[in-house]
């Protein structure tokens, strides 16, 4: 009896909070067939925005994968002073408001009054209101995701295989490429998918640093807001649908990968 009640409560809650609203976006998008989607791709500025979002997400994934795997290895396999503080600070981007992230980056890299901004601008390098700023904002908010996936896998795998490789003559680098990386592969893939979803969807931080220039620094998420506020509901729903498709696809991919990963 209790079991059925709990099941009913959980399912109803998730249906009302997630399933129904999300499905309505799809319904609204296809109110008049594929017209709204087609209209989206017909607008060159939107295509630029989608391309910018994809590019930024790709760079953010690469940067965070390199950084995340490196820092995970260091955290799990080595001891060094300050490790505990670093470990805690790495979670900070998860709980910092995207608007604060944007503000923080503007304060340091802003061209007018930032700490480093004017110097960088002197070298002809714009960060804020330009693509590097969008990339940094995106990389910031997605930074902990890879680490959170890889650290537990590294701990679970243990050091014995690496030690065996070393005793067989493998250098640290060889043992990393041939032994460690293949054994944490699924953790990394999972981290990539989560980072990708988060990076594609970042809105607040990007809004602050991008300048939101149509056809230049406007990303897909900014398009959704812009269209909605300009009473182009169809366009907003269509863009939102595309973004939602990608994130749902990411989750489904992860859900498929995960069981394989368990022993």
């Amino acid at each position: 009896m209790t079991t059925y009640l709990l099941r009913l409560v959980a399912a109803t809650y998730l249906f009302l909070l997630v399933a129904w609203p999300v499905s309505l976006v799809a319904v609204n998008t296809f109110d008049d067939g594929f017209a709204s989607i087609r209209a989206l791709f017909a607008d060159p500025d939107i295509v630029v925005a989608l391309r910018l979002s994809a590019y930024v997400a790709a760079v953010s994934v690469i940067v965070n994968t390199l950084f995340g795997v490196t820092i995970s290895m260091l955290l799990v396999r080595y001891e060094f002073p300050g490790k505990r503080v670093l470990n805690a600070l790495l979670d900070l981007p998860l709980s910092v408001s995207p608007i604060v992230v944007g503000l923080a980056l503007v304060l340091v890299y802003g061209g007018r009054y930032g700490w480093f901004g004017p110097t960088l601008q002197g070298w002809g390098f714009d960060v804020i209101f330009s693509t590097p700023g969008i990339i940094m904002a995106t990389a910031f908010v997605a930074l902990p995701l890879m680490i959170r996936e890889v650290v537990p896998v590294l701990e679970e795998v243990g050091v014995e295989q690496e030690q065996a490789a070393q005793s067989l003559g493998a250098s640290g680098w060889q043992s990393f490429w041939r032994i460690t990386l293949p054994s944490i592969k699924w953790g990394v893939v999972y981290g990539v998918v989560m980072t990708l979803a988060r990076s594609l969807g970042e809105f607040g931080a990007v809004k602050v640093v991008s300048g939101n220039v149509l056809g230049q620094t406007r990303t897909a998420t900014l398009v959704v807001e812009e269209k909605y506020l300009n009473f182009d509901q169809q366009g907003a729903y269509a863009t939102a649908f595309l973004l939602a498709m990608v994130s749902v696809a990411c989750i489904v991919v992860v859900a498929i990968i995960r069981p394989k990963n368990q022993h």
């Binding site: 490196t70 408001s97 995207p98 608007i99 503000l103 923080a104 607040g204 973004l243 994130s247």
Partner: protein, 282 residues
């Protein structure tokens, strides 16, 4: 008698230096240096800049900025709503986790996917999604758009995964033998839950609650379309900061941002303490 008491013959053990604090090699040290440089440039220095900028005007200026009626109202709304949402999550999170772990029924894997959607869905899309069911054209006839419940609803949506995903793995590893042992000792289901299961889940629930509170307090994107950002009504802290930035009042923005940063830091310290306690328990 030389072989007799080997344990007594031993010289007193000389105290030695304890294990070295750093096990870094040259290449791993270099990697740490590079990673720290990037982390500092991307995260630490910018966040420090927020605090430094906020403190430039002195304590008085800081205090008067964050206590202007409009800002104070925004902070109050954000914190209280995040707290209320966290309470809901503390109840619903373990319940959903329980259903996902212990129950078996058709469509469970769909629920699993639903849990993660708020995490992966772009926040602006989340706002639009909620608007389509709870906005002006609500098929349910429930319209929260531009009203306070909208903030509550948006927070509820974006914080959904935290407690569930923290509790779930702990529940999976929980030894069923222990529950059976408790039952065999005469404990009722309620007693077993309260005395045996809940204490094991408590750290995970607390960690999830801390994360969901932090996420709620810092939320921005899902509110943009949903809440209308009406001062004293539905304007949250992040929106306050953004309008200060847009009005070129960077010092004001930094002051309010510092409040949010302090909340984030407190949450991180709490999480670290919980992790240590769990680790100590073994």
């Amino acid at each position: 008698m030389s072989t007799v008491d080997t344990t007594l013959d031993r010289p007193a053990r000389t105290p030695r230096r304890s294990a070295p604090r750093s096990t870094l090699t040259r290449s791993s040290g270099l990697a740490l240096g590079l990673a720290m440089t990037w982390f500092s440039l991307l995260v630490l220095i910018p966040l420090a800049a927020v605090v430094v900028t906020a403190s430039e005007g002195g304590w008085g200026a800081f205090w008067s900025t964050v206590t202007t009626p409009q800002t104070a109202a925004a902070i109050r709304l954000t914190v209280l709503t995040a707290a209320a949402v966290t309470v809901v999550n503390v109840v619903m999170g373990p319940l959903i986790a329980w259903v996902l772990v212990r129950d078996r029924f058709w469509g469970k894997s769909v629920l699993e996917i639903l849990i993660d959607i708020p995490f992966a869905l772009p926040t602006i899309v989340a706002g639009l999604v909620l608007l389509s069911l709870y906005g002006n054209d609500s098929p349910l006839g429930v319209n929260v758009a531009n009203r306070r419940p909208a903030v509550f609803l948006a927070f509820l949506f974006v914080t959904l995964p935290f407690v569930v995903r923290m509790v779930q793995p702990v529940l999976e590893e929980l030894d069923r033998d222990v529950e059976e042992a408790a039952a065999s000792l005469g404990a009722s289901r309620v007693t077993t839950f309260r005395r045996i299961i809940l204490p094991s889940l408590a750290p995970a629930i607390a960690a999830g609650a801390a994360l969901s509170f932090a996420r709620g307090v810092s939320e921005y994107g899902s509110l943009v379309l949903l809440s209308g950002n009406l001062p004293f009504q539905t304007e949250v802290t992040s929106v306050r900061i953004l309008s200060s930035i847009e009005n070129d009042n960077v010092a004001g923005a930094a002051a309010v941002a510092t409040i949010l940063l302090v909340i984030s830091l407190v949450v991180i310290v709490v999480l670290d303490l919980i992790q240590r306690r769990v680790a100590a328990r073994g």
